[in-house]
């Protein structure tokens, strides 16, 4: 076997699963006939298996770490509950009525859907910590920010551009935004003017 055909520099990437299919096929094909590369490939597979066995990796909040998404779900649930109770004892104006309707919609969505979460990844310095809780079918999103709404807006974005959905509402020192869509939602952005402050892929 020609030395230049050896795939020793690719076995790690093969085991990590990051090769393009043509390169992966090249590694597999070569390993059949080359015992030294086959041995290296086996060792790489053993090492990745040891990494898998060692435990999953989790990604923490990039800005201000939260221990787990349960804390966010609990925060969202408690905020929604507090808002729901508060709304019953307050005389609300038109904007507040709309806010209450969004709260109710979010509560119903949380109760009746399977949902997941994604962190908001900061794009600019000073972005607030936040999470996007979303339905598994991506039919709704609940954005929870650990900061007052200020001049922020919530948007979705994709190949066709950015679409502003509305402004989050204040909940004490935090803010929230709920949105339901007929089409699956892929990306959520928190914006200040035309600038994306932070975003999440769901």
């Amino acid at each position: 076997m020609n030395e230049s055909q050896h795939v020793d520099q690719l076995v790690a990437s093969y085991a990590f699963g990051i090769l393009e299919s043509a390169e992966a096929a090249q590694v597999e094909e070569h390993a059949v006939s080359c015992s030294s590369c086959r041995q290296l490939l086996g060792q790489a597979e053993e090492a990745v298996t040891a990494m898998v066995d060692a435990g999953p990796l989790h990604v923490a909040q990039p800005v201000r770490a939260r221990s787990s998404w349960f804390a966010w779900a609990a925060l969202a649930a408690s905020l929604l509950l507090a808002a729901g109770l508060g709304a019953r004892v307050l005389q609300l104006g038109g904007e507040q009525s709309q806010m209450r309707a969004q709260h109710d919609a979010a509560v119903v969505a949380l109760v009746h859907s399977h949902f997941q979460h994604a962190p908001l990844i900061p794009r600019t310095a000073g972005a607030a910590a936040g999470k996007v809780i979303f339905a598994r079918d991506r039919s709704w999103v609940l954005v929870v920010l650990d900061a007052p709404p200020g001049d922020l807006t919530i948007a979705t974005f994709g190949p066709s551009g950015v679409r502003v959905l509305g402004r989050p509402w204040a909940q004490g020192a935090t803010s929230e935004f709920f949105y339901r869509s007929s089409a699956p939602i892929d990306n959520v952005a928190v914006m200040r003017g035309p600038q994306i402050v932070e975003s999440a892929r769901i």
Binding site: V48, T49, A54
Partner: protein, 141 residues
Amino acid sequence: MLQDPDEAQDCVQEVLLRLLQRPHAFTQGRGSLKAFVTVCIRNEAVGRYRLRRRRPQLEDRLSKYVEDETFEPFDHLEHARLVGALKTLPEPQRRVTILAYYHHMTHREIAQAIGEPIGTVKSRLFHALRRLGQALGGTPS
């Protein structure tokens, strides 16, 4: 990784079917059957993950590393025994390992993110995985 139990089951089923159709894919001298099957299933899952997230998010994904000079992927990992093993790696090897193992980036994407040639990325991954295998007991030292 897939965050979808149904798709995870499909993934395992597809790999097992493929292996049944190609019983000679696993050859003697390669390593353990467990490692072979684990990597096959994980690679299938990574492929599905990458297909789902391929475009147009790639540019966005890279910008996280390119634009934010203070971004350190290692800082974002928690609660894993693996972190202990990763800490034994020199920083350049650790960085490419995290981008490959957790973020499922290709050579080209990693090279673009860290500003190094693709050959350097391949070499760092190779040496990093050898060290990790030894640290975790996955390969003989």
